[in-house]
């Protein structure tokens, strides 16, 4: 009853658990250090591959520019090379060092494909739309899928089970087809939603209710179709993990102790079943930032995916590297966060320290 900490004799108590618990409350430096080193190495490797990979592709930027712009005469190829900054005959190693020097100063170069504007500007125009729409849709899908999967797993054998094949089926429909169907039904025939784009023609982006309303109105169909297409995976994964976890002894014990169902479901079963979901979620962050190119094309939505595809086709190295860099960094950050979430949810991970 007293607040004083009793001096426990391990042998008398019959366990050393108290000492181990207090050990965990220390900051696990070795664990953090090894993770940090690992992530730094990954970052270096990714950036290096990012530099070399585009340069191994066939074709060059100038002939692409000529093919796109027939009003430019091929005789002007040299003038063009100078204009696009491709007239240097630096060796690959020199280019690589330059690349790092620029990168550390936050200079990603200029994009050949976008009127020679800085890559940072090009990406910053497209990224918010991708993160906003795809990120929102992925979180919604993850939340609905995980919670729904938890409930369906808990009430296995009930009528709710029917959601699993339905959502899985919807997930197997090719996305472009789903998108075109949605446009045909809700935009062309019912005229509930616009046929694409992020907001209306002639609108100015500003913080007004009209503009925000337009963005929501335009974003609904793409967001809903993404949720529909991706829900199945989350739901199935969570349900299956729930079924495994529900067979564990500690669930039986918790129920035998007479804990309320809700507490057993969320505090005991779901908390353990959600761990693999978190790992998949961290992986899917890469897809969020990489954009869903098909969605962008079907719904004429601005975003990173089409940017990357066009940059690849046009051999726009600077833009390609910029986009890959953003994707790489966000995947790494997401993995760091997932590591933390794991450590929080599952104390066993921290025991690498011991």
């Amino acid at each position: 009853m007293s607040g004083a900490q009793p001096q426990l004799d391990a042998i008398a108590v019959g366990t050393t658990a108290t000492r181990v618990v207090s050990g965990h409350s220390r900051i696990p430096w070795r664990f953090l250090g090894s993770r940090a080193a690992f992530y730094l190495f990954t970052l270096w490797a990714a950036i290096t591959i990012n530099f070399f990979l585009p340069r191994m592709m066939k074709g060059d930027a100038v002939s692409q520019y000529l093919a796109r712009n027939r009003n430019v005469t091929p005789e002007a190829a040299d003038a063009l090379r100078a204009l696009l900054g491709l007239d240097t005959d630096k060796s690959l190693v020199e280019q690589y060092l330059d690349y790092w020097a620029h990168l550390l100063r936050g200079d990603l170069g200029v994009s050949l494909l976008h009127g020679l504007r800085p890559v940072t500007e090009v990406i910053s125009q497209a990224l918010p739309w991708t993160v906003g729409l795809v990120g929102f849709a992925t979180i919604v899908s993850f939340a609905i899928g995980t919670i729904g999967g938890g409930i369906i797993g808990w009430r296995r054998g009930s009528k709710l089970d029917v959601f699993v094949p339905i959502t899985t089926f919807l997930g197997t429909i090719p996305y472009f087809w789903l998108g075109l169907l949605a446009i045909a039904a809700f935009s062309v025939n019912l005229r509930w939603f616009p046929i694409g784009k992020a907001y209306g023609v002639g609108m100015r982006p500003e913080w007004t209710f009209e503009f925000i309303g337009q963005v929501i109105h335009h974003g609904t169909l793409p967001a809903v179709t993404i949720v529909i297409a991706s829900l199945g995976g989350w739901m199935l994964g969570m349900r299956n993990m729930m079924l495994t976890v529900l067979d564990e002894d500690y669930i039986t014990v918790a129920q035998a102790k007479g804990l309320p169902n809700r507490r057993v479901l969320w505090g005991y079963a779901a908390r353990n079943a959600v761990l693999p979901q978190i790992q998949s979620f961290a992986l899917s962050i890469g897809f969020i930032v990489g954009g869903t190119i098909v969605m962008e094309m079907v719904f004429s939505y601005p975003g990173i995916g089409k940017l990357l595809l066009d940059a690849t086709n046009a051999k726009d190295y600077a833009l390609m590297q910029g986009v890959f860099l953003v994707i790489t960094i966000s995947v790494l950050v997401a993995n760091v966060l997932a590591d933390f979430a794991y450590a929080f949810l599952d104390p066993r991970t921290r025991q690498t320290e011991a």
Partner: protein
């Protein structure tokens, strides 16, 4: 029970919010008094980076094409119809005999959209930017300076511009009082206040990542404009663009729409489609340096076998014009064809093709064509994957040649990079490619027979690497001639060389496409009145916009 209720609640919220959103959708139909806006659409995906620079091919102004309604050229050269020249910002344009000097008289009474008067100084200043090197000479103008005499300005060029008239005349003229303060005219985005100033019929009103709005220039020299507002938008791909055209979200576009009859024209009687043939053509280039195409007999046999009508009707779905003449020149350039070749047209004539092959020592074994060395004739034809019209033509050619002559044709669809490398380095066997369009016969012959395109062993044209000094000399004469007689004599050499050697096989004229509707406005170019092409990205758009009238 609780869980079920919350599921229902979530469902209800979603359904409700959907309905609310649908209900409160703002009616975007701008019910303005002076007429509806015209929406010009492209299928290039979102264009999210702002740059109004008219000299830069990949600025948003060039990608959408709205640079053409802000900045105007000296004259408009019609790429189709009569191929004529209409003076525009100049009251008159006149070339000297050998096309090395252009004399223009600037139009009087023209104002820049910021109110400053337009003068000849602006023209001289624009071209002098090339001279000083501030502006990269990406059009290969080789401009050498201007002299002013009274009203008339004479622009001098290092070589004849006969084959590049439109490159000179279509140079966008920019205001000196603004551009003299721009440090790098090549790349400046002109996004600061008051920089995107031109003489054109429309002025920039609003730029966003989703659309660009331009308003009619009230002081436009060309008179009052019927259309008060232009919107430029870009859709994700052709399918999305087609949906927008059909639903009326977009009014005017230039896109290849498959099955256009069903998917677009049938949707509304006001929907129109115009394909204007140009002097360029989709052309089958063969590698003349290696087997099997180093034998002219085989090339000639192919010319007698490949069905150009099938190219037009099936591959291009009617949006082209077949090229049958042995000189390779299409109907648009008929006037240039020599009298002796006027009636010499290829046709699908398999017997004739077989006769030519037999005479050259070819034989057949089990229906397969065997060349004089005893090897079976086979080649691959290459077009980048996704160029759907030419991908279809590949299949057609493969089928035609296999059935008629017993040649095995492999259909190859690499990515752009692989295709590009092969055409430049000459490692292909056959490709379909476009021609340089010079508005006259020179375009075809320089693209197929001129060694000047091969620099550092890399070809920009003449991919088959044809090289005959007499032909090269004739090409130079044609380009630099100071009289029509001289040019005709050179043209005769070229036509003869082309007919005899068959260095390439033009299939059908390259068209400029335009889809537009006449719900709100009439006066667009039509089949019978092709004063310009209906392609809204061409310089001729200013002419069309001044001709539009409200529909009754």
């Amino acid at each position: 029970m609780k869980l079920k209720k919350s599921v229902i609640a979530v469902g209800a919220i979603v359904a409700l919010s959907t309905m609310v959103l649908a209900g409160c959708s703002p009616s975007t139909d701008s019910g303005s008094t002076s007429g509806a806006a015209l929406t010009i659409a492209k299928p290039d995906g979102a264009i999210t980076t702002e740059s109004h620079n008219p000299f830069l091919g990949d600025s948003s102004a060039s990608k959408y094409g709205y640079a053409k309604v802000i900045f105007e050229p000296l004259a408009l050269v019609n790429p189709t119809g009569d191929l004529g020249t209409t003076p525009w910002l100049a009251e008159s344009v006149e070339w000297n005999d050998d096309y090395t000097e252009l004399t223009v008289v600037p139009r009087s009474g023209v104002k820049w959209s910021d109110g400053t008067a337009f003068t000849g100084d602006d023209i001289v200043f624009t071209f002098d930017m090339y001279l000083s090197g501030k502006l990269s000479d990406t059009s290969g103008l080789k401009y050498e300076g201007a002299t002013v005499e009274g009203d008339a300005i004479t622009l001098k060029f290092a070589d004849s511009k006969y084959t590049a008239q439109s490159r000179v005349l279509h140079t966008p003229i920019v205001p000196k009082h603004i551009w003299e303060n721009i440090a790098d005219p090549n790349t400046d985005p002109l996004t600061d206040e008051g920089l995107a100033v031109g003489t054109g019929p429309y002025v920039l009103d609003n730029w966003s990542t989703e659309s660009v709005t331009l308003k009619a220039n009230e002081d436009y020299w060309g008179g009052e404009l019927a259309v008060p507002e232009l919107h430029y938008v870009s859709y994700g791909d052709n399918a999305a663009l087609t949906t927008a055209l059909v639903s009326g979200d977009a009014d005017w576009a230039q896109a290849f729409i498959p099955q256009i009859e069903n998917s677009y024209l049938a949707a509304d009687e006001n929907n129109h489609f115009l394909a204007s043939p140009t002097a360029g053509a989709g052309t089958l280039f063969m590698n003349l340096q290696t087997k099997p195409f180093n034998n002219p007999a085989l090339r000639e046999a192919l010319a007698w076998t490949i069905d150009r009508e099938a190219y037009v009707d099936i591959a291009r779905e009617g949006a082209s014009e077949a090229v049958w003449n042995v000189t390779g020149l299409g109907a648009l350039l008929e006037d240039e064809i020599l009298p002796e070749y006027k009636d010499q047209n290829y046709a699908v004539d398999v017997d004739k093709a077989k006769q030519i092959l037999t005479d050259a020592g070819y034989t057949w074994k089990d229906d397969a064509l065997i060349d004089p060395d005893g090897e079976a004739v086979s080649f691959s034809i290459s077009v980048p994957a996704g160029w759907s019209d030419w991908n279809t033509e590949q299949a057609l050619i493969a089928e035609e040649l296999d059935e008629a002559l017993g040649i095995e044709v492999k259909v190859d669809q690499p990515d752009w990079g692989g295709w590009d490398a092969a055409r430049q380095e000459g490692t292909f066997q056959a490709i379909i490619h476009w021609l340089e369009d010079t508005g006259n016969a020179y375009g075809l012959y320089t693209s197929t027979m001129d060694p000047k395109w091969i620099v550092d062993d890399k070809a920009q044209f003449n991919f088959g690497r044809f090289n005959d000094p007499a032909v090269t000399a004739a090409l130079n004469t044609y380009a630099n001639a100071s009289s029509d007689e001289e040019r005709q004599a050179a043209s005769a050499v070229l036509q003869k060389a082309f007919a005899e050697n068959v260095p390439a096989i033009p299939l059908g004229a390259h068209p400029l496409l335009g889809e537009y509707n006449t719900r709100n406005y009439v006066g667009f170019p039509t089949e019978s009145d092709q004063y310009a092409s209906a392609d809204p990205t061409q310089p001729g758009i200013v002419q069309i916009l001044t001709k539009l009238k409200p529909a009754k």
